[in-house]
Symmetry: C2
Subunit: 313 residues, 2 copies
């Protein structure tokens, strides 16, 4: 019932900020660590293997550039060759009892989480991938990352703020947005809201103006929702074609990267509730027209208004 989530592996043209300018000292890797692992993940357990944040000997070059921290042309860290490959499966954080969802996390997704704008550090990535659960999760994670060309970047990088959304992997974020869409579509009281607000604006002299305003809103809202539907931010493992201009797409990609695919679909979900409210409001107005004129005038008026709206497009 919900359209398949658009997928595209497309980098951020404005990436590359957030890396330290000068050479990075080896001690850099220890900066976040203590604070990050002192508290425990997931209800009191603290099994995160500290090795995940141990210092990694990085081969130094004459000019001080660190190959492990270099950005590729897409603004992503690391020299990943197979972004569509599954890196690991992560148990859902929001699953209940009988629904033991596991979400596949691709190499590309891990690369995105380590890259701007999020710039997760080792501890946070371990938390996102729920490595705190297994005893050797930390060391294993680091080794596996190195194997696929992702040495964990470190140092004082400008990272995005950690929110509750940070802890979700893309698969679960998209799932959550879809569930939010489901409740917005099936449970939001669009009709009750429309009837209530209709009663607040029932001056017969303004009914026609109000109808035009609602039609205008419907159209402007649809334009916006259509734009969001054309978003082809990188997500999961597929590489669909770009639809939008690279400029606006890169901005939508930034938003998607911050929310791991939740933001766009969640905004569309909420707009569904608003759009249903608009439809119900227009229905309510038509009823009021009928009641106020008692003849076929309302239908004619409705047709005229629709024609007007079509003309605008």
């Amino acid at each position: 019932e919900y359209p398949a989530v658009p997928r595209l592996l497309h980098g951020l043209p404005d990436g590359g900020h957030g890396l330290p300018d000068g050479p990075l000292g080896l001690h850099g890797l220890g900066h976040h660590s203590l604070e990050d692992i002192q508290a425990a993940d997931d209800g009191g357990m603290n099994l995160l293997d500290q090795s995940v944040i141990k210092k990694v000997p990085i081969p130094s070059k004459a000019n001080g550039a660190l190959p492990a921290l270099s950005m590729n042309k897409d603004g992503l860290v690391g020299g990943v060759t197979n972004p569509g490959e599954v890196f690991c499966s992560v148990p859902g954080r929001l699953s209940l009892l009988s629904s033991t969802s596991k979400y596949k996390v691709t190499v590309g997704e891990v690369q995105r989480r380590l890259s701007p704008p999020e710039c997760l550090n080792a501890s946070l990535l371990g938390g996102v991938l729920r490595r705190a659960k297994s005893k050797n999760g930390g060391r294993c994670l680091r080794e596996r990352l190195e194997k696929i060309g992702l040495n964990l970047p470190a140092g004082r990088r400008k990272a995005a703020n950690v929110t509750l959304l940070t802890s979700l992997v893309e698969g679960e974020a998209v799932h959550l947005a879809r569930d939010f869409g489901y409740v917005c579509e099936t449970e939001f009281p669009a009709k009750a809201a429309a009837e209530y607000l209709c009663r607040q604006h029932s001056d017969p002299a303004e009914l026609h103006t109000r109808k035009n305003m609602l039609l205008a809103t419907k159209q402007i809202c649809k334009e916006f929702a259509d734009l969001m539907a054309q978003d082809r931010s990188p997500l999961g493992n597929s590489r669909p074609s770009l639809i939008l201009e690279p400029g606006v797409q890169s901005c939508l990609t930034h938003f998607s990267l911050i929310t791991h695919g939740f933001g766009g679909p969640a905004i569309c979900a909420a707009l569904t509730a608003f759009q249903n409210y608009l439809v119900e409001s227009l229905k309510g107005l038509d009823k009021m027209f009928l009641n106020s004129t008692g003849n076929g005038h309302a239908a004619a008026d409705s047709k005229a208004a629709e024609k007007e709206a079509k003309h605008r497009k």
Copy 2:
């Protein structure tokens, strides 16, 4: 920066559906149990004490009515006396490492989760309250519920579909909505979206119409957001006064109960992104007016349009 979440303990006038009509056999409690506990909560662990869904001897009455399953006048199950009391603290599902959030769950919240429209059964409630983690969590939960007047209702009640939102307690649901609001406010590319869509509708002959449409949308959207802001669905532990008519409030309460406080604030969060897009669109149009006329006409036009918009209110 975000307004405090409105709180109110207010029942559903249309509650009371979803209970079996006839007397409930004792075997009823076993119905969901096997299916619900076969799979494991939270990444492979299955420590849920089965006692949580054991048959409870229910005192039978001559007429077959079950006091434990009766609804009070607010459409809530049970004879709870102290809904504001803290029932337990639940570790956040979406916390990462250093942020070990615990959310207080009130007796009223537990009562809401067991009542329509959600009608959680014992297993699901145990999952929501994360009792699977402690060894005697299940039995302990049942005993504590009985102590506060909440024998777990059972039988084939019409319950809401389980979604990822189901697993959140109200505190975390509200926290998640707030974080979503934060990213919508700070990270959504409203200006880039506005500039892009402005370019698609740059016919000078239609600029004025478009401006009026955007102003109309802004107003209709604000009305809707204002309505949502007056929602006083029960949440947490406080009882603020009702603002809206009981009819529309009860519908908003239904939506809030299905999403445990996430739905309303999340819709408002998404509308923030849309409203910022509208503001940026209007700014972009004003620039286009300036460019097309090259004199003070744009400013005058802007003033006139604003006046018009004010007049509508």
